[in-house]
């Protein structure tokens, strides 16, 4: 049997963890070892915006222990991720360099969306996940610095939002205020409820199931229902239990939940978040998969290297989020679908000419879906507005770079493409080319449905020598499209050295 041994290290706000996995096609991903070390990097990182000498020292020493353990297992590959802690500190570059020099580890600092996507993968990659989201579900991922809420309806991802409610952040915010314990607890809950209200008022949040990811969730669910093998409990019971224990002191709660730390400072914000999240989405059942980010890192790695069979379609998530976003800004229409189809058709025909892959094809689709959303804000500055909408929306599964590519593709669908030098701050050369190519294709596709009436049917696209020939059948007058076509295709010619030609075959429907 072909077995791949893989190590995933994650540097979190208050814990660093190392998991060892065996990945094989037959057994999928099997966890062999799980090592966690409590180190409150976040405390310093979030308040002082830098990591001091002691913290770096401790971090390096533990990471070099990790390195020994990894060697002990003779792993084939390892990946190390860090999130908020190293993202938010000003001396990250130096810390990373120190770690590299002392342990040989190159740490990948991931941004929030990547982080959330990876931890989402740890759950979504499991068999049975699609059943949970079949009707509707909210997947909440509670971290030290924030909470990610992802909503599903009819098995499709609707939206994902980052709420600035992390266990560590809440505690740091409300700590040392010289108040009694009970009012501290009350304040904390009030703060959480307020923050969640904003979210629930903006989004349709009522769901069947809530999936909770994050520390302590497993401990809580195990207490709520001892004999639970599936990790599912009724929300009512779950909430009732937390309401009962939240009145106790932190020491008592830690004892009740059997935590290693006898007075765990993050347990109270965590359980309050669990409770109020479950209440705000009014779910019927709570599901705690007990997966963590390391599982996601392993899944991500296995998927990337085709070591396992993929059960969940993550691209579908991206497209459904994009559509939902488009709907939100009243821009989703038959035109969007038509444009999407057309641009993909052009893209597929031109495979040899653009040299782009499957991922860029997806980005083109997303761009097509979102290209019009700016009109919701301003008809005049639509491309600019669309750019900003995309840049401030989270699309689960897209990296920040990919999101930027989409936003720029939309921008240059209308505006003239800037020189690379002008954009070099934002993009590297390769990404710049992708933006250019995708926006050129989108522009041509857009030109074919200028009237937004989907006048064409039976579109055939082919390449003949230096020409991209688009043959359409239409029974309506397409002179508008014809007129604008040349105008819109000059840019395309520039990018691909191909001249788009629109050939029309007028068809007349025979009426009965």
């Amino acid at each position: 049997m072909d077995i791949h041994t893989f190590a995933a290290i994650y540097i979190g706000s208050y814990e660093i963890s190392l998991n060892i996995y065996e990945i094989s096609y037959k057994k999928r991903i099997k966890k062999i070892d799980n090592i966690r070390y409590h180190i409150e990097l976040g405390k310093e990182a979030f308040s002082k915006k830098r990591l001091g000498y002691e913290a770096v020292e401790e971090l390096c020493s533990k990471l070099s222990d990790f390195s020994k353990i990894i060697n002990g297992y003779k792993v084939d590959e390892y990946e190390i991720y860090a999130s908020a802690v190293l993202r938010e500190v000003t001396n990250a570059t130096f810390v990373l360099n120190q770690i590299y020099l002392r342990t040989g580890f190159s740490i990948k600092v991931i941004n929030n969306s990547e982080h959330r996507f990876i931890s989402y993968k740890s759950v979504a990659g499991r068999a049975g996940f699609d059943k949970i989201i079949k009707d509707s579900a909210a997947v909440v991922d509670i971290g030290g610095s924030g909470t990610q809420v992802t909503l599903f309806r009819d098995g499709e991802l609707v939206t994902t939002q980052h709420i600035g409610l992390g266990t560590m952040k809440i505690r740091t915010l409300l700590d040392n205020r010289g108040i009694t314990y009970s009012s501290y607890c009350k304040q904390m809950e009030e703060y959480i409820i307020k923050k969640l209200e904003t979210f629930t008022s903006l989004y349709e949040c009522i769901v069947e199931n809530i999936v909770i990811m994050g520390d302590y969730a497993t401990e809580v669910i195990r207490k709520v229902d001892k004999n639970n093998k599936e990790n599912v409990v009724k929300t009512e019971k779950f909430v009732k239990y937390i309401s009962k224990i939240q009145k106790k002191t932190v020491e008592e709660i830690s004892k009740e939940l059997n935590l290693a730390n006898e007075s765990d400072p993050f347990v109270l914000p965590a359980i309050l978040l669990f409770k109020n999240l479950a209440l705000s989405v009014k779910s019927k059942e709570v599901y705690v998969p007990g997966a963590n980010i390391n599982d996601g890192i392993a899944y991500n790695y296995a998927e990337k290297n085709k070591l396992i069979k993929v059960t969940h379609d993550f691209e579908k998530d991206i497209l459904s989020t994009a559509k939902e976003l488009s709907r939100r800004y009243n821009s989703y229409s038959p035109h969007i679908d038509a444009l999407c189809k057309l641009s993909v058709k052009i893209f597929d025909t031109m495979k040899k000419n653009h040299g782009l892959g499957k991922r860029e094809r997806l980005l083109l689709q997303v761009s097509a879906i979102l290209h019009d959303c700016g009109k919701y804000i301003s008809l005049l500055n639509s491309p600019q507005c669309a750019y900003y909408i995309v840049m401030s929306s989270e699309i689960m599964g897209l990296t920040h770079l990919e999101r930027k590519i989409v936003a720029l593709t939309i921008l240059y669908n209308t505006y003239q493409l800037n020189e690379f030098e002008y954009l070099s701050q934002k993009l590297d050369h390769d990404a710049y080319l992708v933006v250019a190519k995708l926006s050129a294709i989108l522009r041509v596709a857009n030109a074919l449905d200028q009237s937004h009436k989907q006048k064409f049917s039976n579109i055939k696209i082919s390449i003949k020598e230096r020409e991209l020939i688009i043959k359409v059948e239409s029974f309506e007058d397409i002179s508008l499209e014809q007129t604008l076509f040349d105008d819109k295709t000059e840019y395309f010619e520039n990018v691909f050295s191909l001249k788009p030609i629109l050939k029309e075959k007028r068809v007349y429907l025979e009426e009965d």
């Binding site: 041994t5 090592i35 297992y73 497993t218 195990r222 290693a260």
Partner: protein, 704 residues
Amino acid sequence: MEKINFDNTQYYENRELSWIKFDKRVLEEARDKSIPLLERLKFLSITSSNLDEFYMVRVASLKDMVNAEYRKKDIAGMTATEQLDAINKATREFAKAQYSTFTNSLVPLLKSNKINLINEHEKLNEAQKEFVDIYFMDNVYPVLTPMAVDASRPFPLIRNKTLNIAALLKSNKEKEEAMFATVQVPGGLNRLVTIPNEDGDERTFILLEQIIERNLDKLFSNYKILCAYPYRVMRNADFTIDEDEASDLLLEIQNKLKLRQWGEAIRLEVENKIDDKLLGILRKELKLDNEEIFKIPGPIDLTVLSKLYDIKGYDNLKYEKYIPQQVLEMKNDKNIFANIREGDILIHHPYQSFQPVVDFIRQAAADPKVLAIKQTLYRVSGNSPIITYLAQAAENGKQVTVLVELKARFDEEHNIVWAKKLERAGCHVIYGLVGLKTHSKIALVVRREEEGIRRYVHLGTGNYNDSTAKVYTDCGIFTCKESIGEDATAVFNMLSGYSEPLSWNELVLAPYWLRNKFLYLIKREINNVKNGLEGHIIAKMNSLCDKEIIKTLYMASAAGVKIDLIVRGICCLKVGIPGVSDNITVRSIVGNFLEHSRIFYFFNGGEEDIFMGSADWMPRNLDRRVEIVFPVIDSELKERVKHILNIELMDNVKAKVLLPNGEYVKVNRRGRKAVNSQITFCKEAKSLVKKDSLSVGRVFIPTE
């Protein structure tokens, strides 16, 4: 029905007094005429070393409590002062019994077996006198450091547990006051000295202090020896390390080792004929009360008798030496890992050999498929093969993690040496945990096989010590069950300072989980009885003194759960209290082997649960140590463990039963066949191997 207050202190026995009863049971072995003479001598020697340790640790700690004005009462409602008084009374009686055994039974018996032990140099004949004098000048004199006390020389430090001779001197010249002098009997020399004797086939020994006493004048020339007597001081040896202060635990213990010699004197033993003036000086200088002085009618420190056990040529006065038998499951050409893959293997030491445990580490050290070896070591033997193989494994590039418990009482110095040896070989050595003693016995081998990582685990009730494994009865299990392997990995992660796992599959660990688990298991029996099922608990351990556990056992007994306890040593539980403990039996087995295994059986309405492990039912095991208790899962193994318990419950030779009055008495056999559990196990282990070798049938088969 009247509600019973299970907390009533009258329901509990003081642990120190219970311990003295245990030492008495050992002494009874020394008095047992059916036991070979040298074995009896050994038992007597054991009672003596036991008592020494008891004083240095328990009595010392009680003294600390008195000094600190600690007023909390013990489980039986006694204050520290009350306990000390009771202990004093009991140990005086005990010492009396020890020396009457020695003088009245054993010495005459030795003599009739042609072994002479001379305890007074005055009894030597001329030839012998000449011999010891020469022996003194050649071997002893050069290493002695006599110390006299006068105005310019203060009273010297008398080191803990050393044997010394005190003397009163008088100057030949001046008419001065008698002067005090003392000399240590060198610990480095053999205390038992063979001397020539009249009859050729006899053996004669004299104690070293007698030789020195006889020649004392050679040490103090110009002085006249008025009198000279041996004495020994016991000092407070129990120290609690302030771990919050210690940045380096190792260093701290090394410091404490030096300090231990300087503790407060808590007991003085002198020969009973000692001169009053001499005793007065000792008493004053060592700051002792009269109750702390023990006048001994014979040689001080009977541990010397174990030396007599080792003399050659008297095998007829000893038990026939038992050779631990091979383990059947491992008696083949396959490597140990292949054998473990066939199914869990249970080994019962010392009836079965400890060799598989050594082989486990030895084969792992050389096996190219092995990635890592992790082990906890509490007390290991002087020249431990396990240490050697662990070091080899590290040299072979395996990842070796060893937790060395430096806090193992009286073993620190020894432990530091080999811990450093392991470190030099490249092992990752963890020197114990802050605030917790690691008492668990677990070894883990991680192997990369075709199907992926497979973990092999050894879990035991006894230490990884190949020499004590020949004397201590212990159980161990080899397994490669995934659930236990996962837990074992988690144990070592925890011991390495990482967070605990989110959950455990099979293992139960102290300090966090074990107490609750036991309470749960006992309460489950109570519930079963309440629901009309049968309730039965059998538990075997070394000591039972945890209040909460005993109280829960009382509650179980009151509810109708049948409880059979096999407790070798301390037992603070009382039997036969109406309505409280009438369903509880307690027996103690003191035999040739030291009963050491801990086995816990719960009937569980027919779905029997059996656990084994490193923990006794003592507060220190449940709260202040890292202990592992593991389930016996395979049904065949369960039957074997149950068999062990059953045979021990049937023992009517070496078992003593606790009576409601607190006394331990021999089992009334009432005409039944004698069952000596330890001998039964020896026979069983032998016949198992014999049967197997018969079935192999190494014979030539002639053709017909």
